[in-house]
Structure formats: structure tokens, C-alpha cells
């Protein structure tokens, strides 16, 4: 370090960019080695909002580490912002997943020990779990993370499908897993009704809120199951191919409906 310092005039001209390249280079070389002149230059620096930059930098430093679920989504090839968008959904918070699991455990236990009556209960609960899960992941009142997403320029259909697929990826295996634990019931029997109800909810969300749609679908299904359970039917009747075909047609029709009416998605356009 020397006693030589950039004179005030040269420093000011460097800051104002009114000096020559040679003079600027001279100042810059000196700054690299002289803390005194650096702090003098810092005092001149008023072009940028450096406090705001520091606030952002600090935020980035102190941001919580990326969660396991989000990392897994990225591992599956999802871009980082989309992984965040999906992962912030309420449907993936531990409390919510716990509630779904508890419901299924309850239904499974009932089926395992309650024989026919319990089997009907499982039959009633299992198929509506996926559609309720999807509905909850779109209701702005339920999911506070959804609100900022709604005002971001992002394809609503893409967001909906992205989330539905991931919600189903969580909810369906759970239903299938618990279905497996029940003796005498084909676990995949509930796959098609579950998918069918989900697509119905998505299609209905072009008219009304998805939560309302899911409630109506669930009530209709519960009503149907209780009527069937009261009548001379066995739970196995649901496995017959005409029922399964019916659910498949329902899913396909709802898919078509959703794509046709995708511009009318109501709750993703709350300002309309």
C-alpha cells in the first residue's frame, strides 16, 4: 500500500464516466489495492439501490433449503419454478397428507374387521379421495399459495394439469396401497372411479368452484353407495366390467369437456 491516492477530481470523473479509458484503468487498478480509495468511491456510488440488492441477496442466502418433495419433482424433470409451484400446494403439506392417510386407515380398518359393511365403507371413501384432494389443491380459500399464482402470467390449464397429476401421484398410490390390505378386493377396482370423479371435478370447475364440484360428486357417490348397500347387492358388483366401462366413459367425457371449456376456468380467473 502506498501513500499515493486518486485525487478527488479523477475519482469524480471516474464515477461520472467522463474520464478517458487510460485514466479509468488507472483508477480501477489502484482501487483493487487501496481500501481507502475504495471507501471513498463507495460514498460516491448512488446510481443503484444497493440496499435493496443486499436485501435480496440476504433473502437468497437465508431462503429455506429446497424440500425433499420439491427435489424429487425436479429429479423427475420438472423445471425449478414449476416444482416450487406444485410443492407449495397445501395438498402436499404434512398435515393434509396425514388427514388423507388417517381417513384411509380408518376405512381400511373398517373394511378388514367389519366385513361387508366395512367393505362398503371403503368403497364409499376410496374413490372420492383423489377428487377431493385435487379440489382442495385449487381452492384459493384452502390454499393461500394459490392466490399469487393466479395473478402470475401462467397457463391456467398447464397449472391445473400439472397439479392434478402430482396430487393423483400422491393420492392414488395411497388408495391402492390400502386397497391391497383388504382381503378379497381387487385394489385397482377403485382406480377408474377415482380418476373418473377427478376429471368430473376438473370439468365442473369450468362452471363452478372445484370444491363445490367435489362436494356434489362426493355426496352423489355416497348416496349411490348407500342405496346399493341397502339393496341386494354385494360390494363385488362394482368390479363388473359394465361399471368399470361406465367410469371410463365418464373420465373420457369429462376430459373432453375440460379441454373444450378450458377458457372458462372459473376460480383460476377470480376477477371475472
Amino acid at each position: 500500500m502506498t501513500d499515493w491516492h486518486v485525487d478527488d477530481e479523477a475519482l469524480r470523473r471516474w464515477v461520472d464516466q467522463t474520464d478517458s479509458m487510460a485514466d479509468g484503468a488507472s483508477v480501477e487498478q489502484h482501487l483493487l489495492a487501496c481500501a481507502t480509495c475504495r471507501s471513498r468511491a463507495n460514498r460516491e456510488s448512488q446510481v443503484l439501490d444497493l440496499d435493496a440488492v443486499w436485501a435480496r441477496t440476504r433473502e437468497a442466502i437465508e431462503a429455506p433449503p429446497v424440500g425433499v418433495f420439491e427435489r424429487a419433482l425436479r429429479g423427475l424433470g420438472l423445471a425449478a419454478p414449476e416444482a416450487r409451484l406444485v410443492a407449495v400446494s397445501r395438498a402436499f403439506r404434512s398435515g393434509w397428507v396425514g388427514a388423507v392417510a388417517a381417513t384411509l386407515v380408518f376405512a381400511t380398518l373398517a373394511a378388514a374387521f367389519g366385513h361387508t359393511r366395512g367393505l362398503w365403507l371403503f368403497l364409499a371413501v376410496a374413490p372420492i379421495v383423489p377428487c377431493v384432494a385435487v379440489a382442495f389443491s385449487y381452492d384459493a380459500r384452502v390454499d393461500p399459495a394459490l392466490e399469487p399464482e393466479l395473478v402470475t402470467p401462467y397457463s391456467a390449464v398447464r397449472l391445473i394439469l400439472l397439479r392434478s397429476v402430482t396430487v393423483l401421484a400422491v393420492a392414488l398410490p395411497a388408495v391402492i396401497l390400502f386397497g391391497w390390505l383388504i382381503p378379497g378386493i381387487e385394489p385397482f377396482a377403485w382406480l377408474l372411479p377415482g380418476l373418473g370423479f377427478t376429471t368430473v371435478v376438473l370439468a365442473a370447475s369450468t362452471w363452478t368452484t372445484s370444491l363445490r364440484a367435489a362436494t356434489v360428486v362426493s355426496l352423489l357417490w355416497l348416496g349411490l353407495v348407500s342405496v346399493l348397500a341397502a339393496g341386494p347387492y354385494s360390494p363385488d358388483s362394482m368390479l363388473r366390467s359394465e361399471w368399470q366401462t361406465g367410469f371410463f366413459v365418464l373420465a373420457a367425457l369429462s376430459c373432453v369437456m375440460f379441454m373444450v371449456r378450458r377458457h372458462h376456468l372459473r376460480e383460476l380467473r377470480p376477477w371475472r
Binding site: E9, L32, S45, L50, A60, I61
Partner: protein, 178 residues
């Protein structure tokens, strides 16, 4: 130094996850880095982003500073490269002309002209394109590839300009000495 920790000591504290130490480094260096970057790029947002990137990088890899030389120079090396990489993704950003005033004031010129002949005048005789290349490669220490990204020209173009600029500088300086 009057009892204050050196930059290197602060950087060591940063490696022990001390945010306060990083803030002190930021306080010491962000200002002049911002001015120097602004001389290379007229887009304030990009310069701000580059500054943020720089200190984020210093936080993530403080060990990148090997302990020799100045922390200031190390930070500048990161900053100018972060700026280059930010600019690569943008089009329409204008690189600042390397020289606003072609003929520098006489008293400032003394800084450079003593030992190496009249370097200031020699640089002033270069075309703006050549000065930009000299600034990026010789003064800022960028590679030809990085300079090409900064200036939005092909790499081969940078190399040619650099070669010609050096030849011209040599000729002008030799003329001045003889």
C-alpha cells in the same frame, strides 16, 4: 488498518456462515464494484443482478479465494463474469463506450504517461471497438470468449481486434519514445 478485520479475515468468517461478515464485505465492496460494472453496462438492473450474484457466489464458495492477492480483485473477477453471463441472456443491452472523452485532461494523463510513454494518448487513438476489446481482455482480465459475450461479437472478431489494437499501440508508443 485501524483494528478492523481485513477482507481476508471477513471472507474466512463468511466460510463459517457468518452473514454479518458478508454484509461488511458488501458494505466495503458493493459500491465501487457497482460503479465499475456500470462503466461496462448501461442496464442498471443487470448490474444490480450481477452484484447480487457476486456476493451470493462469495457466500456459497468463499474458498474460491485462495488467500493470495486482494479480495477486491477476486470479487471483481467474479462480478465481471457474472455480468457477462447475465448479459448473454439479454439482447439489446448496450455496452458502454469505453471512452467518453477522447482527449483526456492533461493533469490526469500524468498517471499513466510517466513510465510507458504516452499510453493515454495511444489508447485514445484507437477506435472505440478496439478500446472496448483492450478494456475487456487486457484491463478486466476476461478471456476472448467472455469478451466476445460481453461485446456481442464473434470470438474471432475479438482476437483480430486485440491483435490489431496491440500492434497499433506498440507502433504509437514506439513513435512517442523515439
Amino acid at each position: 488498518m485501524d483494528g478492523e478485520p481485513t477482507d481476508a479475515a471477513l471472507l474466512h468468517a463468511v466460510s463459517t456462515r457468518d452473514v454479518g461478515a458478508l454484509h461488511e464485505l458488501y458494505r466495503r465492496h458493493a459500491g465501487w464494484l457497482a460503479i465499475r460494472l456500470s462503466r461496462r453496462c448501461n442496464d442498471h438492473d443487470l448490474v444490480e443482478d450481477a452484484i447480487g450474484d457476486t456476493f451470493l457466489a462469495a457466500w456459497q464458495k468463499p474458498a474460491g479465494f485462495r488467500g493470495d492477492g486482494e479480495v477486491a480483485a477476486w470479487l471483481w473477477g467474479i462480478a465481471i463474469r457474472r455480468l457477462v453471463s447475465r448479459m448473454r441472456h439479454r439482447t439489446g443491452v448496450v455496452v458502454q463506450p469505453a471512452d467518453a472523452v477522447v482527449v483526456p485532461a492533461a493533469e490526469d494523463q500524468v498517471l499513466l504517461s510517466v513510465e510507458y510513454g504516452d499510453m493515454g494518448a495511444a489508447l485514445a487513438k484507437l477506435s472505440p471497438e478496439m478500446r472496448a476489446v483492450i478494456q475487456a481482455v487486457v484491463l478486466d482480465g476476461l478471456t476472448a470468449k467472455e469478451a466476445a459475450q460481453l461485446l456481442h461479437v464473434p470470438v474471432s472478431n475479438v482476437k483480430t481486434r486485440l491483435y490489431r489494437a496491440k500492434a497499433q499501440l506498440r507502433a504509437v508508443l514506439a513513435e512517442g519514445v523515439s
